[in-house]
């Protein structure tokens, strides 16, 4: 069975790569490359999979997942300028594709410590940048 939990964070970013000229950045990223950045209300869905524990009736202890996501992601991402405030984006353009990979890395880093058994496993991450742009990763 899969359990999905939704989280939200508000963050600003600027899509701009040092490997390109100003014109090339403008051509590639359009208004997302505006110098002062812009922001989104991101909607993050974290999906886990595992068997339902016969005694508790749960696949996962949700408050434990909430704490992990809060400590590993929301604390650093929410109400931040990703390019300046989050270390990984010093070297990677904060596209939603990169954000979703970094969220996976950050959750995986402490998953075994927080959920030491075989289950639950991280099954997928979905990131909604806007209502029209959604990114999904099966882990």
């Amino acid at each position: 069975m899969r359990v999905t939990r939704r989280y939200r964070f508000a963050a600003s970013h600027r899509l701009h790569s040092a490997t390109f000229s100003e014109d090339e950045n403008r051509e590639l990223y359009g208004k997302c490359s505006n110098p002062y950045g812009h922001g989104h209300d991101y909607l993050l869905e974290v999906t886990v999979a595992g068997p339902v524990d016969a005694a508790s009736g749960h696949v996962i202890h949700v408050p434990t997942l909430d704490r992990l996501v809060s400590e590993q992601v929301l604390k650093d991402f929410d109400h931040r300028y990703l390019n300046a405030d989050v270390a990984e984006f010093q070297t990677r353009v904060p596209t939603s594709e990169h954000i979703i990979r970094i969220i996976e890395d950050r959750l995986s880093l402490r998953w075994q410590e927080v959920f030491p058994g075989e289950w639950p496993r991280l099954d997928g991450i979905r990131l909604r940048e806007t209502k029209r742009n959604v990114f999904e990763l099966k882990t």
Partner: protein, 138 residues
């Protein structure tokens, strides 16, 4: 092809195990273990899988699907206290996982014959927490 029908029901429940003390239940289930219970506006999404019938153009008659959901899930569970009024939740803790499994168990026999089979039961307990069950053991 997949087709999905959505339905809603409102029900109350309490999540606690008889074998545990109130303190242990509080640690495991938090506020959900408050003895008098609390409620949710559950949202159910039932997904069927099949090929469209070449004559009718339908995977499954959505009117019939609506009736099956109404009779097997909504009528028995809507505006009920699950622990007291809806078996097996007198014995099984009505977590979202267990409610979704019970909904699958009730729906599946209706799709064993005919073109469409039950593919997924998604149950939202709140907008921010939902489970997907496909009938698998894990």
């Amino acid at each position: 092809m997949l087709i999905t029908r959505r339905a809603e029901f409102s029900a109350s429940h309490v999540c606690a195990q008889r074998a545990l003390s109130p303190e242990q239940n509080q640690r495991l289930y938090g506020q959900a273990s408050n003895p008098s219970g609390h409620g949710h506006n559950y949202v159910l999404e039932v997904t069927l899988e099949g090929e469209p019938d070449p004559v009718t153009g339908m995977v499954f008659d959505l009117k019939k699907l609506k009736e099956v959901i109404q009779q097997t899930v909504i009528d028995p569970m809507d505006h009920r206290f699950l622990n007291y009024e809806v078996p097996p939740f007198d014995k099984v803790v009505p977590t979202t996982e267990n409610v979704a499994t019970e909904i699958w168990r009730r729906l599946e026999p209706h799709f064993e014959s005919g073109g469409a089979r039950l593919n997924n039961v998604r149950l939202y307990e709140t907008e921010d927490l939902y489970v997907d069950y496909t009938g698998e053991n894990r």
